[in-house]
Amino acid sequence: MADTTDERIKEISPLRRALIRPELGGMVGTVAVFTLFALFAFDSGMFNSQGVMNWSIVSAQFMIIAVGACLLMIAGEFDLSVGSMIGFAGMMIAVFGVVLAWPMWIAILITFVICCALGALNGWIVVRTGLPSFIVTLAFLFILRGFTIYIPQTVERKTIIGGIRDAAEGDWLAPIFGGKIGQPIFQWLGDMGVIGVFERGTRAGQPVVDGIPMLIVWAIALIIFGHILLTRTRFGNWIFAAGGDAEAARNSGVPVNKVKILMFMFTAFCATVFAVCQVMEFGSAGADRGLLKEFEAIIAVVIGGALLTGGYGSVIGAALGALIFGVVQQGLFFAGVESSLFRVFLGVILLFAVILNTYIRRIITGER
């Protein structure tokens, strides 16, 4: 019983072994995408400071919802109501903060509570009835969107409620979602000529990029949190287990229902972060916000190597998936591709990414 080697296992080179990880597909994709755009759209402004900020923000948005969707998907469920939740959360803030004129921080906190509770409700129905989350969250997709249109229509006779920026003026919590950090550094960089300054208009002399929006900070924070939670904690092991085989996990003492409900809540939390950042930036909440975002989140996660059926994936991968998604979307504009073809590209990239990921996963898990 002492032989620790097995002659039936062919050699795998250490390099190959180090490379073969769930994120690999996302890494390859990222490199490919950047190479491509560096070749075809380099002088379009895509890689100057403003251009970089441009696709970074779009990617950060995708990342925020992708982190939630990723953990949930690894836990074996998914949430089609993310998009509607974004619209709903924004509207709640507008209703509380503008219509009812409560202090903005209360409006934000209450919105977080309501949305996480809705996420929990989603999860509770899924675990209690054993229904597929596709159906349950599809129902919530419709229900939440319906209320998002109905509520402002009833209370304000509008479907866009503006004035949120004014209402948030001087609030302590709002800048955590809508502010920017690092302005002095950017001003200095602008003065040094590292990044361009505006040449005309009202802001002439200011640097074209004047700070890092909190949106990006949130994205990075959520990615780090999600990654550590998943790979380095006991709870992370439970997430994998719940998604890999709920029955087996339950038999082994993993509180599967709790894990799933918490992940639904976390997804709702991420959607709310997205919504709050958005309403703080644009100052208005509309009934049409977040349309189709649920698909975009799922696509980013899947491009990042997670398995739609659960139990396998990585937050870093999902973040790379979101980056690819964001860069491709904006890059096509920089490259001047006819914009209606964007969907075609998106579909094709999605297909290629998942095929690559499947190949990688087969190698990892042994060709089953």
Binding site: Q50, R200, G201, A204, L291, Q329, Q330, G336, S339
Partner: protein, 289 residues
């Protein structure tokens, strides 16, 4: 008293502009004492809209107010309603000729192509030579007509100047930013409604081109009004949706009660809203304007 009028639009649930229409019919219904209902296909599928008109016909209202988003599709259902003795008024999209052809009482609105054409001519006079048209509803055939008209009015080929922007404000903003930095020779922007205008304003403020680039938009909203006021937007084309909704209800009620009818179609737009006359607009933007 107590007549029932149904307004059917082609707009998806998510299109926020139609809110003014809802408010318009509600107010008119209240004032003339008629029952009014608003209906729309949830996804904006015009074929579904045809079914809704058929449904409205079956429920036997006194009048139907509807848009004519696609003449081919809606011709059948609308003329069937007319032939059953239901009075129909066409609003918003379509043309007076088409309205006459299917037997509608009249037309209240702003033919999309013509409005776009007028906007294009005005922009041309104001020196636009190269433009971007931000279309947040590419799947809807009607609003795209505005871009087509605008391009023809300018006398430029539409080419790929029409952007499929989607409806997410951050995406619209960043797509506009990307497009403008990739195409520095663009000196005119047309947005097709508040959904695309609001983020475009934010984009121009961010890249410092606010006021430096010619910016026209369709329809009004809070942010648009602010934009007009601070000079970011040169003009907004107001098709006065409130009138499009309010007038037909009032006209139908008077037609039903007293048999009186205006002798002409009502062109509710295009009216160019500029900095000069803004107070009323400001107060009611998004609600009645």
């Amino acid at each position: 008293e107590g007549e029932k009028y149904i307004l059917v639009s082609h707009a998806p649930d998510s299109d926020t502009w139609w809110n003014t229409i809802k408010n318009g019919i509600a107010l008119a219904g209240e004032q003339v004492g008629a029952e009014v209902e608003y209906r729309n296909p949830p996804t904006g599928d015009i074929a579904d809209m045809a079914r809704i008109i058929e449904q409205a016909t079956a429920s036997g209202p006194d009048g139907i107010i509807t848009t004519l988003a696609d003449f081919d599709v809606l011709k059948g259902p609308i003329s069937a309603a007319v032939d059953q003795g239901i009075d129909v008024i066409i609003m918003n999209t379509g043309t007076p000729e088409q309205a006459r052809e299917i037997g509608a009482l009249m037309y209240v609105g702003q033919p999309e192509y013509d409005a776009g054409f007028a906007a294009g001519q005005r922009a041309k006079d104001e020196g636009v030579t190269n433009f971007l048209c931000v279309n947040h509803a590419i799947q809807q055939p009607t609003v795209g007509e505005r871009c087509r008209g605008y391009a023809d009015g300018l006398g430029i080929d539409l080419g790929d100047s029409m952007m499929d922007s989607g409806t997410d404000p951050s995406e619209i903003k960043n797509k506009v930013l990307a497009y403008l930095s990739a195409n520095p020779d663009v000196d005119g922007i047309l947005t097709l409604g508040p959904v695309s205008a609001d983020p475009t304003i934010a984009a121009l403020q961010e890249n410092g081109m606010a006021g430096a680039i010619h910016f026209g938009t369709f329809d009004l909203g809070e942010e648009i009004v602010k934009g007009i006021k601070d000079g970011t937007i040169n003009w907004g084309i107001d098709q006065q949706p409130f009138l499009q909704a309010y007038m037909p209800v009032v006209i139908l009620a008077n037609w039903d009660r007293f048999g009186v009818l205006p002798g002409n179609n009502i062109n509710s737009g295009p009216g160019f809203v500029t900095k000069d006359a803004l107070t009323k607009v400001e107060e009611f933007a998004g609600e009645y304007r």
